[in-house]
Symmetry: C3
Subunit: 154 residues, 3 copies
């Protein structure tokens, strides 16, 4: 087993099937050594985790939804690259949290994805990030996250 | 005529005048072979397409507004590059849809821009994408889309 | 004094302490000659500028909050690079304004950060930008802005 595959096994993580885009775009584009990954919504076991933080969903649910987005980002990386060992660095996560106007814990929600990246990749998983509230997401998803990833060269 | 200019003619597309920024920034910045394009709002024939999806605007209007953003992105590319033939790949679209909290068809709306890119550039127009709902956009625009584009080298 | 340090002094600008991330991520990631900076919220003198434009905050407050985000972006650049003289170009600002549904002056708000970049860096501060409304931001912040910056090589 490769290093990251071993690490996933250690963590008890089985990656989901990478979701097909719900519209006219592609999941990933590689430019030079930079992989751009489309916004992934919070699918878990093939079911979309829907709802709005601060309204019908609590922090714990939000973190689970963010982690589901993170797992889908990993699945897209693996599909695009063949192996997660080709990841040099998680560069940036752009996170959107379906939020009531009174809910201000977006950073804690998105930690569900950020901590996953650090668990899986160690220092290479430490990324820049933006996290904002939005009033609604595609299909009613609770969280959507896109990513920029640096790939090993040579 | 160049290839993409012919293709635009075939599609019956006349590009709009590239809009001047509505504030203290520039429409495009080229770094190496990557062109970053500022968020373009939904202008059509010099009029801003305003309104909120799921409230006073329907899906069809939203798609037209997203296509208008896409046309403006093309106009900015052409102005920055001299010719659309210099486009190697549309890398990423970042799309924001003015949405009521109950409207969850952002992906279908943004297809108005995504399908345009594929119509114009073929495989080179297949891009990564994020699409989210927002409660309001500059000047009341219905859609805003920014872009990352890879340019041919040599 | 270096050139940009002199310019900051001329403008009477003292940079804030760069804020520590409020969660499991890092403020900056450098990939090749591109620095990605995490979304910075509107801290001023160690206090978060909170509130919603078009509801309990006016345009002037919003511009001050956007400028505070800009100052924090500068502080993060300086910490990551050692000196602001290593900045080649401000490439892109991604701006999110905490907005009531009726508030459509996001561009004017975000000018608080955009004009700062041009004041400090001159032509090198002229950037691409997106600016959108959001219903809520982390900790109730009024504005959040992330950035992509090109660094001098050699």
């Amino acid at each position: 087993m490769t290093d990251i595959a071993s690490r996933l096994a250690e963590l008890g993580i089985a990656l989901p099937e990478p979701a097909a885009p719900v519209a006219a775009y592609v999941p990933t584009v590689l430019v030079g050594n930079i992989l751009h990954i489309s916004g992934q919504v919070s699918f878990e076991d093939g079911q979309l985790l829907t709802g709005r933080l601060g309204e019908d969903r609590d922090l714990e649910f939000g973190q689970r939804a963010a982690r589901a987005c993170g797992l889908m980002l990993l699945a897209q990386m693996q599909k695009a690259l063949g192996s997660l060992d080709r990841v040099e660095r998680i560069v940036k996560l752009g996170a959107f949290v379906n939020s009531a106007g009174s809910f201000t814990d977006q950073p804690k929600v998105v930690n569900g994805a950020s901590e996953l990246m650090q668990d899986v990749f160690g220092d290479a998983g430490r990324h820049a990030r933006s996290a904002v509230g939005v009033p609604v997401l595609p299909l009613g998803a609770a969280v959507e996250i896109d990513a920029i990833v640096q790939i090993k060269t040579g």
